[in-house]
């Protein structure tokens, strides 16, 4: 079903707004009722972005405080030489947890959380396209994060540093469960981050104000789009890395054990392929926030919008060419280091472009020195210093001197606190009036800034010197007479000053933050973007059309007209929650999306998912599996209520635009989500193939090792034929399911069932053939790599089996036909992906050793 042809321009005269006044009686009440959050205990099942976003931000901030307390304990320990405030082992846990919690439980979730709250408001969308997915991501993170943090009270926290290098974290040197908590706990929280990224990509591309074409997209939306794409590309590497290390620890598959063909450097490649982009994953959303705040404070449009967008995109790309600059001291060839040095210096260019754009904007307007402005100025100062030391450590010879010293600690804190924490505090002070009935205090805010800015510099500026005169990072104490005493004491005083600033911010929050579902403090800064429109649980009463990048400045009266319901979709066409889906480039209305409302499913699914991973950590295998099954059950329960089909004829949203309430194919929002999910899956698989090739490279002459027999060609050929046959059957079923007459042919479930047998059989044959050849996954890295590829494929095949069975169940329940076929389309896309991955896997596992002839 396609959307109708629409007019080219949405630019209208003031008198030519899409919907006339007065609005029909009961229209507004129906809208409010549809978006009302549940009451009582069910309140936690709310999925509105304003509620979930706020909980999410609050939880991320809680982790910021908890990880900050860990830092204070460390600083107290280091304030004097030979201190015994904390033990060696506890100190190891403290610095590991500080880094891990700050990076994984604060920084990434905080920027994702802020976008859950802000993006729909800024784009005048009613909500994100998958509100239950946001809720699932939040609850999984909330439960998993708190349990993970709780391990510090039981001496069970990971203690191998936040980047968990093997062999230190291998079973041999870390036999206890501390490392497993990191691998399983953080690995699964990354899945939550990816869920959020999928939501953000589809949200930015598909749910915008009418006419908000790409050239009018707020810079923050651009930043979040690049951020989410970077998560999709970068996070699979760490997910795979944690999987491999956990498989090594649990089943003795030697991916990183040098004696059996593994290589610890493989972990470093996988970790830093995620870890360096991670810095920009945190930084880019912060720059997006800065690009929104600076124009408001200067009361002038952002200078160099196109250049800023270029900078965001270029940073997104280039940041993936930097990872080895964390490995300069590992003995790689100098030429290889040169590539990464070149990219590391190149990435300073787009960052510099943004800094100059902000300075030019400040210079072209009249900057008001408010609290957000102060934090922005602090950000520019501190981040630029961090960037400069970044260019220094991008030079391999300098890096060899500063490596693993306090100079690096100083550099990374300048970058992260300057580049992310200060912009986040600017954002708190700037956007609180959207979420609260009162803005935060300007007077207290200046004190907060002063304490944080001075505290930050007092803490970390001396660390450059501490590092250059030789103090290594991660030592729990140091002897008298090394020349480090005074510098460390100054750093400790600075850390407590910084903490005092954060504590004062909490006081400000307690005094002034009053949550506003409706009747917020309003546009106190005279800002230009749509999040400052009057809003409620439904976001805006009607969905505006915009003609520029600063709609509240460009279109006087817009707020009132939106609130009066004079723009698009001022009520609810289907009687339930709805979002207006727009085209990705020009933001033309395409269809009305019926958005799922509150429900226990995402909450329970998240709790059981967290329980599955956490119980696995403590080896409660049976209970863990039960929780895993229950999690899958809850997801199926949740999905069962989606894909409603065309519940009514196309609806008039105003201005003569009539659009459907249901579409399928590439216009459908879930099609986009499935494509992004396939990219994520493809990246995990690509990283696995990279790992296979890397292990081949470090094992000359033994790939496969002597005595290992590769199964005959007949088995992979048979397996490939079955894969292709299953995909062909699904393609035929898709053809049968076409037509405008709501056909429901009986052959469809039969074909899906047969295809399921074929795809399952294919994977089983491959596994059986390797098993028959007596290949051991634990004898050598070759076997481990082969079984890892097969294991990943089996996981995808099992997922396909569940999706196929679910699709058959939808058909049997009368919820699937030639019009209402989104479920089938999604299953079909995933099926094709699984088959493609299976074929490539067969080619690599069976073809590569033959092709290289054991070289």
């Amino acid at each position: 079903m396609n959307a109708p042809e629409l007019p080219n321009s949405f630019e209208r005269k003031e008198t030519d707004l899409p919907n006339p006044l007065p609005r029909p009686e009961g229209e507004f009440e129906a809208l409010k009722k549809a978006w009302e959050p549940p009451r009582g205990i069910s309140f936690i099942t709310a999925v509105n972005n304003t509620y979930v976003g706020l909980w999410y931000v609050g939880t991320a901030f809680l982790f910021f405080i908890l990880a900050g307390i860990l830092a204070l304990i460390m600083r107290a320990q280091l304030a004097a030489p030979e201190s015994d405030l904390v033990s060696h082992d506890l100190y190891n846990q403290l610095f590991t947890m500080h880094g891990t919690v700050m990076m994984f439980l604060f920084a990434v979730p905080a920027v994702e959380a802020a976008s859950v709250y802000l993006l729909p408001n800024m784009q005048a969308a009613r909500d994100l396209p998958f509100p239950r997915l946001s809720a699932y991501a939040f609850w999984a993170y909330f439960v998993g994060g708190l349990v993970f943090f709780g391990t510090i009270f039981f001496g069970l926290s990971p203690n191998g540093g936040w980047f968990m290098y093997p062999p230190l974290t291998s079973t041999k040197y870390s036999p206890a469960e501390n490392a497993d908590w990191w691998l399983l706990g953080i690995g699964f929280i990354e899945i939550s981050a990816i869920a959020g990224a999928i939501e953000i990509i589809v949200g930015v591309m598909k749910t915008r104000a009418v006419g908000m074409s790409l050239d009018k997209l707020p810079v923050y939306s651009w930043a979040m789009l690049v951020f989410a794409v970077m998560i999709v590309i970068g996070f699979p590497a760490i997910i795979l890395g944690t999987l491999l290390l956990e498989m090594e620890r649990a089943f003795d598959w030697p991916f990183f054990i040098a004696e059996r063909g593994g290589d610890p450097l493989l972990w470093q490649h996988l970790f830093w392929f995620f870890g360096h982009p991670e810095v920009y994953i945190i930084f880019l959303p912060a720059t997006g926030m800065v690009s929104m705040i600076v124009p408001t404070m200067a009361q002038t449009p952002l200078v160099g919008y196109r250049l800023v967008v270029l900078a965001l995109i270029a940073t997104g790309f280039l940041s993936f060419g930097l990872w080895v600059h964390h490995m300069f001291a590992t003995g790689l060839p100098k030429m290889s280091l040169g590539f990464f040095s070149a990219a590391s210096t190149a990435v300073a260019v787009p960052s510099g472009i943004q800094v100059f754009a902000w300075i030019a904007t400040i210079a072209s307007g009249r900057m008001r020195l408010t609290t957000p402005s102060l934090f922005i100025i602090g950000f520019l100062f501190v981040f630029t210093l961090g960037g400069l030391t970044g260019v220094m450590v991008a030079m391999a010879p300098f890096d060899w001197q500063a490596h693993d010293s306090y100079f690096v600690v100083a550099h990374l804190h300048y970058v992260l606190i300057g580049g992310m924490v200060f912009p986040l505090f600017a954002a708190f002070y700037y956007w609180v009036p959207v979420a609260s009935k009162r803005p935060l205090s300007e007077r207290l805010g200046r004190w907060v800034f002063g304490l944080m800015f001075i505290g930050m510099n007092v803490t970390f500026l001396p660390m450059h010197i501490t590092g250059l005169i030789g103090m290594p990072r991660r030592v729990y104490t140091y002897p008298v007479g090394m020349g480090w005493d005074s510098l460390n004491l100054v750093s400790t005083i600075g850390a407590f000053m910084l903490a005092a600033g954060v504590a004062l911010f909490l006081v400000d929050l307690a005094r002034n933050f009053r949550f506003a579902g409706e009747n917020n403090a309003g546009n106190v800064w005279n800002a230009s973007t749509l999040e400052w429109l009057p809003n409620g649980n439904y976001n805006t009463r009607s969905i505006p059309s915009v003609v520029g990048r600063d709609p509240l400045w460009d279109q006087p009266g817009l707020s009132q007209d939106v609130e009066d319901g004079r723009y698009y979709l001022p009520g609810t066409a289907t009687g339930v929650r709805e979002a207006l889906v727009t085209s990705p480039f020009d933001a033309r209305p395409q269809y009305i999306l019926q958005v799922p409302g509150p429900g226990w499913q995402p909450v329970l699914a998240a709790v059981f998912t967290a329980a599955f991973f956490l119980l696995l950590t403590v080896k409660f295998i049976f209970t863990s599996v039960i929780c895993g099954v229950l999690a899958v059950g809850c997801v199926i329960w949740w999905l069962w209520e989606t894909d409603p089909g065309p519940t009514r004829p196309p609806a008039d949203i105003g201005g003569g635009i009539v659009i459907p309430v249901y579409v399928t194919g590439s216009m459908n929002h879930s099609w986009w989500a499935m494509i992004v999910l396939m990219v994520v899956s493809g990246m995990i698989f690509t990283c696995l193939i990279f790992s296979y090739l890397f292990l081949w490279l470090v094992n000359p002459g033994v790939w496969p090792p002597q005595g290992v027999r590769i199964p005959g060609w007949i088995w992979p050929a048979l397996s490939a034929i079955l894969y292709c046959a299953s995909a062909a059957l699904v393609a035929v079923a898709s053809r049968q399911l076409q037509g405008e007459d709501r056909r429901k042919p009986r052959s469809v479930p039969i074909m899906i069932g047969v295809a399921l047998l074929l795809v399952g059989g294919s994977s089983a044959i491959d596994l059986w053939s390797q098993w028959q050849s007596a290949l051991s996954p634990s004898a050598h890295a070759y076997g481990a790599a082969v079984y890892a590829i097969m294991s990943l494929q089996i996981f995808f095949v099992l997922t396909t089996l569940i999706m196929g069975a679910y699709t058959i169940a939808r058909w049997l329940a009368g919820k699937l036909d030639s019009i209402r076929r989104t479920t089938f389309d999604n299953t079909m896309l995933f099926w094709y992906y699984t088959v493609g991955q299976g074929l490539v896997g067969l080619l690599v596992v069976h073809g590569f050793p033959r092709f290289t002839g054991g070289v």
Partner: protein, 119 residues
Amino acid sequence: MSGTRTLHVLVMLGGMIAWAVQFTIIYGVTSTLCGRGWADATLFGIGIVQAVIVATTVLAFVPTALVFMGLLRAYRSLEGEDASAATAFMMQAGILINGLSLIVILWQGAPALILPACA
């Protein structure tokens, strides 16, 4: 997303995609040749590693330059036509991205002129 729009995105990001391919090839080939001890081989009297890097850099640079010039020409001819704002914006962004990519691609290949292959 229509096929034309997908093409627009690819053209807009073309230079950065070319850089990513260049980066992957030069790092992958250097690592493989050095790791396997094949770096002493020569091609037309030039060390194989340097030869691969120079060839890859040229292969990334030339198409990016062509796309850059094509976009410039197309953007100039766009004036006065009834193109959507989004299309014009993507062209401008494409010119900037491909222009920056030209510098980055050359910069990325520069180590081949300075450093020994596998030392």
